[in-house]
Structure formats: C-alpha cells, structure tokens
C-alpha cells in the first residue's frame, strides 16, 4: 500500500516539475541560429535558401505572428531571445544594450547596397546600426480604371499621377468620383492624406536632429489639412485591414486610395472581382515611403559575425527582389529594382509593372527621421483625426487636444 502511495506521490511531483519546467526555456549556442519572423515578412527565397547558404550552422526559422510582443517579452525576461528577428526597430531602442551594432561586424561594407534613408532609420543612439533593412512601403495612389472612365477622368497612370500630384488636384478627383459615382478615392484621411503630407516631408514626429517634436508646423498643417479633407465627406472613413475597408473595395465604393506598396496584397484579396481594373501611380504631394521592418541581431550568439552575415544574406538584393511578387515586400536595395523579378507585368493591375512605379517613388522618398515614440504618437494623432472627422470638431482644436495627449520627451 505504502509503495503505491509513494509511487503516486513521485508521479505527481514529476508531473508538477515538468509543468513548471515548461515555463523556462533554453539558451542557444553559437552553432544554432534562431530567427523569428512575422509571416510574409521575409522573402520566400531567403527562407528556403538560408540553410543551404550556411551549412556550418543549424538555422531554426520560427514563424511568429506577433513577433513584436514576443520579442518584448523575451527581452523583458532576458531569456529565449532569438539570434535574429524581424521587428519594428525603433521601439527596441531602450534595449539597445542587448542588440548587436552590426556595422562593427561587416554591415559597414555593404551599407551602400541599401537605401540611405532606410539605413538611417534603423539606427539607435550614437549611430549604432541596430537594424538591417528589409522592406519599405513606398506610397502610391491605387485607383480603378473602369470607375475613372465612368466618371470622365483620365485613366492612364501617367495622366492620373499628374492629376493627383497636388492635394488640390487630388481633392478635385475625390469630389468628381463622389458626385458622379458616389464612390471614394480616399479610404481614410489619416492614411490617404496625413501620411503622404507628413512622410513626404521626412517627418515622423521627430525633427531632423532627432528630437521628439509633435508640435511641429509640418504635423499641424498635415493634421489640419487631412482632417478638413475628411470633414468634406471625401473619404470612405474605413481603415485598411478593417472589414469596412474590404467591403468597400469589393463593392466598388472604394475606387482609389493612397497606400504603401504592401497594401496591394490586402487589395487583391479584398477585391478579387475588380481584378485587372486597378492601377498604381504616384501619390499626391511627391514621393514618400513608410519605413517598414528591419532585421535585428541580438547579443545572444557567441559569434555576432556569423549572425550578422546571415542577416545580411537574408536581405541581399537578389533575395529582396524575389520577395516583391510573392510576398509584396518592397526591396530596400536599389539593385533589386533592375532585376527581372521586378519587371514582370501583373494581371491584377491590368498588366502594369507596379514594381517600377514604386521603385521610382522609393528612390525619391526623403529621409524620414524616426524614434522610439513615433508609432505611439502616430496612433494618438490618427485616433484624434478619426474622432474629429466624425464629430466635426474644429481641426485646430482637435490638433491642440491631441498634442496635449501625445507622448513627451523620449
């Protein structure tokens, strides 16, 4: 009897220990390299080829949908941090001591392969290179040829691009489609007007000397203009990735919008019925680009040279070029733009070679100064804008209120 009891107690204890042990996680040695990436955030060619390219190390690729949250948790607990991760670089700046400055381990010699502004946007304090560029989000104007024709507007990308090159021109087009078709060429004032207005000036809530500056004139003007635009009823008032946006696109209510290159995936999956009718051209207010992701290398591995080398290979021009068609990752490496993979016509866009349109925008886009509080500040102003459009608040008052709620000093 007692033996059975002992055995049962031992069993229970073992189960308990096993359950608790699940809470911790092992470290890694220099021969194993763990890479975390969001689905579709690395080109398929990089994922497929990386092990073959580096036969001496074991590469563990972990598809992690909410990589930013997981990474923060791992850094917080100081355990289970991957060797390489695709992440938003700027929020990681306060953990800079745990991130490898890749410029010391071989990135300096390949730096010129990447767009200069993108390289700068992946730097931390004292110019440390804490991210290796992967994709960017050049902003284009997406529109539907059949609807533009019905509204008596030009349909050729070059003509449309010229027509919407200024915000006044864009507003006229928006008024025309609204009057004649009851349809919109603006999804929401924050993404179609505010983003090109501010990013086009290289502004992402930081002044060019790296100081958090939400009260700047660029921001105020952009905010007021975009809010006014929205209050005129010229936008669908639906945010990308929301069901209203997708429904609007598929039901022909959203016939144009300003968005980054990667929103083509969202568009083609939302509005399959208008395949062949969409085109892309240059956005209002000149060239601008969303910053996109970077690869960060962490000081978990005994040999940062090897991990840096792997990260560089994952983002080289050939791999990035292949990522455009399959994953809509727009390359940050200009050499990719002249490669065959980026010269293929696309049937969804009526045979247009969209990559070349975005390539021109990407090359002209200004350097965007960014910092740890950029994304949070953007959310504050975007929310304020959505509320102001809905409640018809005076745009200047809405701006002043948002400014008081915005993060200070970082």
């Amino acid at each position: 009897m007692s033996k059975i009891r002992t055995a049962a107690a031992m069993g229970a204890a073992a189960a308990l220990i096993a359950a608790l042990a699940g809470c911790s996680s092992g470290g890694s040695d220099s021969k194993t390299v763990t890479i975390w990436y969001r689905p579709n955030s690395l080109p398929a060619a990089s994922i497929k080829g990386v092990q073959k390219q580096f036969p001496d190390v074991t590469i563990k690729l972990v598809k992690t949908p909410d990589v930013d949250t997981k990474l923060t948790s791992a850094l917080r607990a100081n355990s289970g941090v991957p060797d390489i991760a695709v992440a938003n670089t700027q929020p990681l700046r306060s953990a800079q001591s745990k991130i490898v400055d890749v410029s010391k381990y071989g990135f300096a010699s390949v730096k010129s392969d990447y767009l200069d502004w993108k390289v700068k946007a992946a730097q931390g304090d004292d110019g440390a290179q804490i991210g290796i560029p992967i994709d960017i989000g050049p902003e284009g104007f997406f529109y539907r040829v059949d609807k533009f024709k019905a509204a008596g507007l030009p349909t050729d990308p070059a003509d449309v691009g010229k027509l919407v090159s200024t915000f006044d021109g864009y507003e006229q087009v928006a008024q025309t489609t609204k009057d004649k078709l009851g349809a919109f060429v603006c999804d929401s004032p924050d993404s179609s007007v505010y983003v090109p207005k501010t990013f086009g000036q290289g502004y992402f809530y930081y002044s060019s000397d790296g100081k958090l500056d939400p009260g700047s004139a660029v921001n105020k003007q952009g905010f007021i203009d975009a809010t006014t635009f929205g209050q005129k009823g010229l936008c669908l008032n639906a945010q990308p990735y929301q069901s209203d946006w997708s429904a609007g696109a598929s039901q022909g209510k959203l016939v144009g919008f300003v968005g980054p290159a990667y929103e083509a995936t969202l568009l083609s999956s939302s509005a399959q019925n208008s395949s062949g009718q969409w085109r892309v051209t240059t956005a209002p207010g000149g060239s601008s680009s969303q910053i996109g992701s970077n690869l960060s290398v962490f000081k978990t591995n005994a040999d940062p040279k090897v991990t840096t080398k792997i990260a560089i290979w994952l983002t080289n021009a050939t791999n990035q070029a292949s990522g455009y068609q399959t994953d809509r990752l727009f390359p940050s490496t200009p050499a990719s733009y002249s490669m065959a993979a980026m010269k293929e016509p696309e049937s969804y866009f009526g045979g247009q070679v969209t990559a070349q349109v975005f390539a021109g925008i990407a090359k002209d886009a200004p350097t965007v100064t960014t910092g740890p509080a950029s994304i949070t500040t953007q959310t504050v102003f975007n929310n304020a804008m959505i509320d102001a459009v809905k409640n018809k608040t005076n745009p200047s008052d809405a701006f002043a209120k948002a400014l008081s709620a915005a993060p200070t000093a970082q």
Partner: protein
C-alpha cells in the same frame, strides 16, 4: 515529537497536497509580490527600470485616463451585465414551468454562445455592426430607418459590447438559475396553489426568496467578472479603445500600458509603462475588494433573515 519530525513522517501527505501550493506560489504569490515591487518603478518593459516611489499612484489619481476607464467600465457593466442577469432570471422562471416541452433544446440553444470562442464572436459582431456594410445597417436601410455608426460612435460601441455580454452570458446565468429553481421543493408550489396563489404571487413569495443564495452568488461573481471586462473590447478594436475611447475598460487600459497589442495594424496610444500598469492592477483589485466586502455584508444580512 518535534515539528520537523512530524513533517518528515508525513512527507507523502505533504507532497501530495503540494501541487496546489507550489502552483499557487508560482503563479499567484510571487507575481503578486513582484507587482508590488513593480508599482514603485517606471519601466517600459525592455530597457532599465527606474525607482519612482509612489509617483505612479500620484499619476493614477491625477491622470484622467484611469478614471475615464473606470467610469466607462461601470457604464458598460450597467448596460450589459445587469440586464443579462435580470433577463436570465426571468427566462429561468419561464423555462422551469413544468408543462414546458423541449426544455433541453432551449437550454442547449441558450448555452451555445457560452462555448463559442470569443474571438469568433468578436469577428461576427464586427461584421454585423460594421458602419457602412454591416448587416444591422443594411437592414435598417432596407427598412428606411436611419443607420447608426455602431463602431465609431462611443455609445454605439458601448451598446455593441453590452450586446456581446448579453448574448454570451445569458445561457450561463440561465443555467445557474434553472439549477437553483429545480432544487426548490415542488410541495411548496402545490401548497401555494391549493391556497389559491397565482403565478405572480408564487414567484414573489416562493421562487425568489428561496432562490436568494443563487441570486447573491450570481450577482457577486457576475459583478467581479463584469468589472474585469477585457476580451470583448480588446478583440473588437484590436487592442485599441475605439473612437472617443468608447470601448476603454480598466483591464484594457492596463493591457495597453503593459505594452499593448503588437499587431502591425493596431497600436496603442500610450507609451508602455509596467509600473503604471501594475498600479492600475492594484487599483482594480481595491475596487473589486470594496465591492466584494459590501456585498458580503449584504449577503450575510440576507441569509440571516
């Protein structure tokens, strides 16, 4: 025999009850102590933390965001949790009529939402109430009625969240009330009917008084879970609070300060601060404790009469 010897002699017994205590320590006591420590810190979660003493408490009292969230939580609670409990009680009385057929069918149908994944529920509610192309607005339009901006108007948001609470919680409370009613001695009803009491009199004089412990249990657990409202608004707005912060609750605010959603399409408008988040947690704890203490006094008096 000394105490250590007693422990040693009964080690099997101690070992066999240890799992609860070990897990309780690992997942409740240690985090609680850590949260106490965290409430004196300012920490973005990944960099270095800084000791700030009681400054986070000052921030809680002075800043309007926590009080806004608290007020909003109570508002949504009043719109969702209170109607669902009263509704479930009425429905339980009706469904407990002895002559009712297919009782199991009703019970299953009402309980089904409770076992449906909340994520699925949120996605469906999002589609049903979406502003331009949602089912509700399409139907309103077809009936020539004015449409309503369910997911951008702060009151619309509260109504949608309250509707989710009602739709999902109804079956659970119904089941508990029906279990309580089925335990009532049918002899009481027969005697009442012989004495000429009508259905309303029976409800007021027999069902409700006998059901009192069940009602108190439901009210207490319902209040505690209702004030910890989090999942519904979190899913509905991808971690944000919705326009005009109409969906902001105490727990959602804490979540936002803990570092927020992480999905690229939804960002919070606050800078993560784990110290402030744990102070919010303590404040929620104090509020719930006060409510539980109040209702405990109320309960004791209720059971003593």
């Amino acid at each position: 025999m000394t105490e250590t010897a007693a422990v040693r002699r009964h080690w099997r017994e101690y070992l066999s009850i240890s799992p609860f205590f070990v897990l309780f320590a690992a997942f409740s006591i240690v985090p609680l102590i850590y949260a106490l420590y965290l409430s004196t810190q300012q920490w973005d979660g990944i960099g270095d933390s800084k000791f700030v003493g009681l400054a986070q408490w000052q921030r809680l009292v002075a800043s309007n965001d926590f009080w806004y969230a608290t007020g909003n939580t109570f508002l949504i609670f009043a719109m969702g949790q209170i109607p669902v409990i009263i509704g479930a009680l009425i429905a339980a009385v009706l469904l407990s009529q002895p002559r009712l057929r297919a009782r199991g069918l009703y019970q299953t149908a009402f309980f089904l939402p409770q076992v449906t994944s909340l994520v699925v529920v949120a996605v469906v509610f999002q589609a049903v109430f979406s502003n331009r192309f949602g089912l509700t607005n399409v139907l309103l339009q077809a009936a020539k009625l004015p449409t309503f901006q369910w997911l951008t108007d702060p009151w619309g948001i509260r109504i949608v969240i309250a509707a989710m609470i009602i739709w999902r919680g109804f079956g659970y409370f119904l089941l508990i009330f029906m279990a309580g009613i089925s335990a009532i001695d049918t002899g009481l009803y027969e005697a009442a009917r012989l004495d000429g009491a009508g259905p309303v009199r029976i409800l007021g004089s027999i069902t409700l008084p006998v059901l009192r412990p069940t009602v108190i249990f439901v009210a207490l657990t319902g209040t505690i879970s209702g004030l910890q409202l989090f999942t519904e608004p979190q899913l509905l707005f991808g971690g944000g609070s919705g326009p005009d912060r109409g969906g902001l609750t105490m727990m959602l605010l804490q979540y936002q300060y803990l570092g927020g959603p992480g999905a690229a399409t939804a960002q919070t408008a606050v800078t993560p601060d784990l110290g402030y988040a744990s102070v919010i947690g303590w404040a929620v704890f104090i509020i719930l404790l006060a409510i539980a203490a109040l209702s405990f006094r109320f309960t004791r008096r209720g059971l003593e009469d």
